[in-house]
Symmetry: C2
Subunit: 422 residues, 2 copies
């Protein structure tokens, strides 16, 4: 009697990338390639788009060195996508296409590496068995620099951006402090976080007290009050000689209007899309006349594998590994989570949660993580954040530059005649 | 017969700080404290301002661990200043005050750690003997992230900012590449360099060919031509799927107008002081409609000791050490230089040059360091730059953050009754 060959696995990266999403890929791939329950391991080129267009990468044809190198290579090695599947009712054709591709390639496992939106997509795919009669085991792999997924202590990707932001704030603050007497007195650093202030909070690790920089953090969770802010800046300059401000891109007024939405126009009257850092810096200049500088970290922060958190890298790998282990056990529609066992020394383990519990949900900074004045972080927040940036996990260097790997990306031979327009 | 006590030394940091100016301080201090020709070692608090206000720090009262720690601590540990002495004719009182303070504290050596402007100040101080009858041995210690001092192969401070920019460009480019199919297609990184494009050039190290990012570098030395630029961006997006642009803050039109000077106004009609990155990004958006992101590294780049170049740290220490060695030999009005002996393997030694040869002079990118199309660097430029970013020199970490040192900063007892208003 001929034995049924094991099902193949499909892995895809989704949404904004991070310094360690490839470490999760590495965990998935290492574990899947070694599992006797899984046949081939395929990755979607450019995420789910690769599944829809039948553009699959045969991961087994990458060298072992390349797969290992994913652990220290930032961004999405297989390509990621900002692409959210609509509901089954709104766009049945996308799901039918997925099934067509999965069936053609004997895919029985779906590992989807992303954030809130992506977990929603993963949830929908996990329901294909019930809704369209194509059984598939679907496990989400958490990833988001925003740290806003619920039911997990933290999200892989966050620890490294947190470390980058804390280190950069500490360094830039030393710069400002040393020049403040005759030059720049106010420095503004803009960091990511449109709805949740986790990344901005991480900057708070750079200092130990309200007297140490950053002196002011502007969170999306705290409605911006211009007068109170400007007074605090003046107090800092008077007391410490300078003021370091970290502002979340999502900082907003009480009415919900983003600070970044300053209605700025260029010389031709066109709307100027700017960051919030220059808006805040100009506000300070107009009120107080201080000399200022500002920085916008943007992609630098989430791609900064050179200063990744060791804990973050390990957790990213672990959730990838756990996802495959859950999958081969037939556990469908779940996402591995990080479970904190102890703060100090930090201990953690892996748990899991139903996708339905995380899809489209956002975890914001709890009120008790904020300092009373709303311009900094509390001791509880520090206790939470500190272990997440612990340890360095330097990539290898060659000629002064990190030697990141690139995949060969050998395409799996197509089996379908039909094309699909994304 | 009583022996004359050796003269004391004065050290000051000047101008914009860097990731390794304290490594130069470490070289100066180690060498001076061990020299039998030098008595006490004093540092100016906030640079030359500390000399004028008789606010001196007794470096001998810092712990050995703190002095050692300067080698891995960014920014100006003693405080720096943007303060340029005027000519002797315009402001004789400043020079008289310096002499008064130096005489009161038996200072016979003046070590001034800075860039072009600072070397001008050092030159003026070196002439006090001839012009005002107060002999002092004055040696400049080169420091500038801009790399624009002449007669030295490179400037301490530059190698580290170059490494930061090359690493950050490589990382952010991986991010953009992985998302480009469905999201951001154009990324703009703004780096320092108001007059010289050395820092922007360093971004060129991130890629090996015109096909690899950064695809476009905008140098101050190359007049900006909007149409040619926009065409190149479109070509890149068509050919590679995305385009990474690095722009020098000093990028300008042929008529000398800075790109950053876009005449931007906020909602209230106030001038908005912005960076050049958003200006360039908006230009691309208006012409081509591509989704874009931009970053402004600002102080992050020059304070980034966490990713400093090992060669740079070593050279910074070496010029500090050499300055003291020259000083105690009585060599006045010079600045130690880096002399390149070989490209690969890289070998260098220390030379020196008269201050008059470097004061107020600027070394720009030579034309043969530019790629023919003006949007990248040549092989000659790569050969020059590559050794300067070589090697990592990680600071120690504690709880996930670099453990930078802070000086005690014990003040030397004042000897003068008079105050001086800077």
């Amino acid at each position: 009697m001929k034995k049924t060959p094991p099902k193949n696995a499909f892995y895809a990266q989704s949404g904004g990338v991070s310094a360690v999403i490839n470490a999760s890929a590495c965990g998935v791939i290492h574990t899947a390639l070694r599992s006797k329950h899984i046949g081939k391991v395929y990755a979607g080129r450019d995420g789910i788009v690769g599944a829809l267009t039948e553009d699959l990468i045969d991961v087994g044809r990458e060298s072992a060195a390349t797969i290992r190198g994913l652990k220290y290579t930032p961004a999405g090695a297989f390509g990621s996508a900002r692409f959210k599947l609509k509901g089954l009712e709104q766009n049945r054709s996308e799901y039918q296409r997925l099934i067509e591709v999965f069936r053609a390639h004997n895919i029985g496992y779906f590992f989807y590496n992303g954030g809130n939106d992506s977990m929603d997509t993963a949830l929908k795919v996990s329901q294909l068995g019930a809704s369209l009669g194509f059984p598939i085991t679907c496990v989400g792999v958490p990833k988001t620099v925003d740290n806003d997924l619920p039911h997990t202590d933290c999200c892989p990707g966050f620890g490294s951006v947190a470390k980058y932001v804390a280190v950069s704030t500490r360094e830039a603050a030393l710069d400002v402090a040393s020049m403040a007497r005759t030059s720049t007195k106010v420095f503004v650093l803009e960091v990511m976080g449109r709805h949740a202030g986790w990344i901005a909070a991480a900057a708070g690790l750079a200092g130990r007290s309200a007297a140490e920089p950053p002196h002011v953090i502007l969170f999306p969770e705290v409605p911006f009050e211009q007068q109170r802010f400007l007074e605090r800046v003046r107090e800092c300059v008077n007391s410490y000689g300078y003021c370091v401000i970290v502002v979340s891109e999502g900082a907003a007024y009480a009415d919900g209007r983003f600070l970044a939405d300053a209605g700025t126009r260029d010389a031709f009257g066109h709307t100027q899309l700017g960051g919030v850092a220059p808006v805040v810096a100009n506000m300070v200049r107009e009120a107080h006349g201080y000399k200022f500088h500002w920085a916008v970290a943007d992609y630098l922060q989430r791609a900064a594998r050179h200063i990744a958190s060791k804990v973050d890298v390990e957790q990213a790998y672990a959730v990838g590994k756990a996802a495959v282990e859950l999958g081969v056990k037939g556990v469908n529609a779940v996402m591995p989570t990080i479970v904190r066992k102890a703060h100090r020394p930090y201990r953690w383990s892996i748990g899991h949660v139903p996708l339905a519990e995380v899809a489209n949900k956002e975890k914001k900074l709890p009120p008790d993580y904020l300092r009373e004045d709303g311009f900094g972080i509390s001791a509880a927040c520090r206790r939470y954040l500190e272990p997440l940036i612990a340890g360095e996990a330097y990539p290898p260097y060659r000629n002064g530059l990190p030697e990141y790997v690139h995949i060969r990306g050998a395409a799996v031979k197509r089996k379908l005649q039909s094309d699909f327009k994304v």
